[in-house]
Structure formats: C-alpha cells, structure tokens
C-alpha cells in the first residue's frame, strides 16, 4: 500500500463530503425564504440517509466482484471483507471516497424539485433512487460494461451529472410546476449564500475530480489544474454571453458559469491537458447559459436549472472528451485518445452510447419510482402547505425569525 496515495484519497473524501453542504447553500440562496430550511434539509439529509444505505448495500453492489458488468454481488454487504480490495490504497479508502459521491448525487436533484416535495416522500425517493439508479450507473461506468467497452468517465460526468440531471427531469414531470410558476416572481432570497455555496463546491470539486485518480500522482495534479481552469473559463463564458444578452454580468451568472465548467470537466479531468480544460469550460459556460431557455420552451419548472447546468454540462463534458482526450497524458492507452489527439471517432461513439444509455435508464427508472411514490404516499405537497412553505409545514421551523 502507498501511504501518499492513501492520504490523498482520504483527504479527497473529506473534500467531496464538504460539497454537499456547499450545494445546500448554493441552492438554498436561490429559493424563497419560506423554503430555505427545507432545501438545506433535503441536501444535508442525504448525508444521513444515503451514507447509511451506501454502507449497507450500495458499495457492494458497485464493487462486489460478481464477474459481470451490470451489478456487483453481496460480498461486501455491510462493508464486510473490504480489505479484500486492498491494493495501492486500502479498500476502505475507496469506500470513504465513493460514499461521498453517492451522497451528493441525489442531492443534485433537489434543485429541480425545489419548494414542492413532501419530506417523507423525498426520503423514500432518494433512498430508492440511490440503490436502483445511482448504484447501477456507477457500476457500469467505473467497474462494469461501459468501462470495458472503452467509455471514459473520470469523475462522474455520466454517472453523476447526466444521471442526476435526467432524474431531475423525470421527477418534475411527475410532480408538475410550482404554484404560481410563470406568472408570480420567485427571485432568489439570498444570493450571498449562493456565492458561498459556489466557493465550497469549487473547493470540494478539487477532491472530487483529482481524488478520482485514486493516487497522488501526475494525473491527479493535472486534474487539479484542469478542474480549476474549467471553472474559471466556465465563469468567463457564461458572463460574456450573459453580458451580451442582458447587458449585465451577474454574481449568480458567475456562480452558475463556474459550476457549469466544473460539471463539464468532471468526466474529462484526468484525461485532457494543455488548453483543453479552458476550451471545455468556456464551451460549457456558453452552452449551459443558452440551455436555460429549454425549460421555458417546454414549460418545465426546473426551478434552479439542474437540467441546464448538470444535464447539459454533463453531456457537454462527456461528449467533448471524445474529441479532447489525450492518450499521451499520464499513460492513458492510445485506444483512449479522442478525435483531436490521434484517436478515431470510436471514443466519441462510446461516450455517446454511455450518455444515452445512462440517460434513458435513469429517466425510465426514476419516472417509475416517482410515479410509484406519488400513487402510494403522495410525492407533492398540498396546495396549502406549498403556500406556507417547506420550513413551517415539513419541519416546524423557520429559517429567519421576523
């Protein structure tokens, strides 16, 4: 075992953990004040529930050596015999790191469904989702058939961002739009919190992406730089087009663009170099801004733009990797080079297959879960409760005392 590698993965686990409260404040600042605690709670609750589920069955269904590429076995049920996986790093370090990924992924959905989910139903939703949707996607991409075919996903562009973005769409199609959506203004209640959350996300994303090297090596260093640069140019791209289109460069735009760049670089972080991360980030900043128009056109109340930022950003990064993957960087085999770096179109096609397959799978299963919960316990708040807000009706608390 390598102590340097182990130390970096353990520190990265802590960095990724910090992203979930960061996400809570990123989203919380954008909702109305009556739903502030409800939003924070949905995110932080994932740290409680999904961590527990992941330790019981999630980890083993991804990393249990079943010999097939679709689902792991139960060898590590309740984290049994994890030391069997010891290699360069302890198996338990992989548990710690992967657990934090499992926690933040369902939390991403809460931005789309903001202000209108019953808390108990939300708990059932993400509990089922993390086992039935997240676990299979993570298995295929990191330890299963998509990886075996040659599709690349360094830190979760497909398994996390496309997956959560599509799931967000499926859930909002089941629950419908917020009351008053489209004619009642619902501006963010505290953008300073959103800026704070962005800073925490950006910081934690260093561990998210560079930790995915699972080693303290040159690839990890490249991933740190790539991650940071994509956030930087994502911000610049978003602000530029926002300034052209609306006349102002906004703080929310700076935050959104940075996150869009971070999302897009996630699948690419250890596989690209040179100017590529800056190009990928800038493209994501511009395209994610333009994708804001989708929800209005479709009348989807994707309240905090999970589709525009995570789904579109995830697709942009996953597909651009088919062009920008550089086989010469840190020993990635030549077969994994993209179109611009001496590879053929094969990698792009594998990326496309992975994105579409995970997207369709996520949509179908998430839609079924949401429909099932809606039919049995009801997924959406009553009209009265929605008017009063999540804080009082779901948690008997208020974020702010008048």
């Amino acid at each position: 075992m390598d102590s340097g590698n182990t130390a970096w993965v353990l520190v990265s686990a802590a960095l990724v953990l910090f992203m979930t409260p960061g996400l809570a404040f990123f989203y919380g600042g954008m909702v109305r004040s009556k739903n502030m605690l409800g939003m924070l709670m949905q995110n932080i609750f994932s740290m409680g529930l999904v961590s527990t589920i992941f330790a019981i069955v999630g980890f083993t269904l991804i990393f249990g050596d079943s010999g097939n590429g679709w689902i792991g076995n139960l060898d590590h049920f309740l984290l049994a015999d994890v030391s069997d996986l010891d290699g360069d790093i302890p198996g338990m370090a992989l548990v710690a790191f992967q657990m934090m990924f499992a926690v933040i992924t369902p939390a991403l959905i809460t931005g789309a469904t903001a202000d209108r989910l019953k808390f108990g139903s939300y708990a059932v939703l993400i509990g089922l989702w993390s086992v039935l949707v997240y676990v299979p996607a993570a298995k295929w991409v990191w330890n299963g058939w998509l990886l075996d075919r040659g599709a690349l996903d360094f830190a979760g562009g497909t398994a996390i961002h496309i997956n959560a973005g599509v799931a967000a769409l499926a859930v909002i199609l089941v629950i419908g739009n917020r009351k008053g959506h489209g004619h009642e203004p619902m501006p963010p209640h505290n953008l300073p919190f959103t800026v704070l959350g962005t800073g925490i996300l950006w910081f934690g994303w260093i561990g998210f992406n560079a930790g995915s090297a699972l080693a303290a090596n040159g690839q990890a260093a490249q991933a740190v730089v790539n991650t940071h640069l994509a956030a930087a140019t994502g911000m610049l791209g978003w602000l530029l087009i926002e300034r052209i289109k609306t006349g102002h460069a906004t703080t929310l735009g700076a935050c959104s663009g940075a996150v869009a760049g971070l999302v897009a670089i996630t699948p690419c972080a250890g596989f690209v170099g040179g100017a590529s991360p800056m190009i990928i980030g800038a493209i994501a900043g511009v395209l994610c801004y333009l994708a804001l128009g989708i929800k209005a056109k479709m009348n989807w109340d994707d309240s905090l733009d999970v589709i525009a930022v995570h789904l579109i950003g995830g697709v942009v990064g996953t597909l651009l990797l088919g062009f920008f993957a550089d086989g010469s960087i840190y020993g990635a085999p030549d077969a994994e080079a993209g179109l611009f770096y001496g590879g053929g179109i094969e990698l792009f096609l594998e990326q496309l297959l992975g994105a579409v397959f995970v997207g369709v799978f996520s949509f179908v299963v998430t839609f079924a879960i949401a429909k099932g919960i809606d039919a049995t316990m009801g997924l959406r708040l009553s009209e009265d409760d929605e008017l009063v807000g999540l804080d009082q009706t779901q948690h008997a608390e208020s974020a702010y005392q008048a």
């Binding site: 102002h248 929310l252 801004y289 804001l292």
Partner: protein, 112 residues
C-alpha cells in the same frame, strides 16, 4: 397636535434625524416599508429571466408635534430628505385627537 408622516429614501434617514434633533424634536418612530409611487420599481435579472420589482424600499418616519411647530417640522424633513431625484418621497400631516405618555399618564402637549 399633528401627526407628521414622511416616506423618505432610506439613506436620507440620518440626515432627517439630525435636522429634526437640531430643531428640538424630542422623539420619532421609524419603520422600514416598501411601496411605489411615480418612481415605479426596477427590473432584476436572474439567469437571464427578468423580474419586475414593483415595491421599492423606503423609510417611514412618524413624528407627533404641537400645532404651532407642524409646518417647521414638515419643512425641515423636506429640506433634509431632498435629493431632487425621482423617488424622494412624500410628507403628509394629520390631526391627532389624543396623546398619552404611558409612564406618567400626562396627556396632550405635555405628553409630547
């Protein structure tokens, strides 16, 4: 006795308070309020979507004075709160039937 109600720009509150103190006004009440007049509201943009903000933040000042000093106080507030830009606010005067100082039970001008 007169109740003088003034709606002014929030950043002029300290100027108004200082001017009233200089004219021996011994008390006033301040509230943060929102509203619109000729100034109207403004637009804010969040992720490309424009929001019309109709209600503008203002400060409401209430002062009760004896009849003789009402005009002086109105003029003092107006002078202190004026920026000559739209949105400076309004002042109005209404009659007050009865005033009681709670601690002593004094009434009328003695209670001011």
């Amino acid at each position: 006795m007169k109740l003088i109600t003034a709606i002014v720009k929030p950043f002029k509150l300290d100027d108004v308070k200082d001017a009233l103190k200089a004219n021996d006004v011994t008390g006033l009440t301040v509230s943060e309020v929102r509203g619109f007049g000729r100034q109207g509201g403004h637009t804010e943009t969040y992720r490309g979507a424009e929001y019309q903000i109709d209600f503008v933040p203002k400060v409401e000042i209430q002062v009760v004075v004896d009849d003789a000093r009402a005009d002086l106080v109105v003029d003092t507030i107006a002078a202190a709160a004026r920026t000559e830009k739209i949105g400076d606010g309004k002042i109005w005067v209404s009659s007050v039937d009865r005033v009681v100082r709670i601690r002593t039970g004094e009434e009328g001008d003695d209670a001011l």
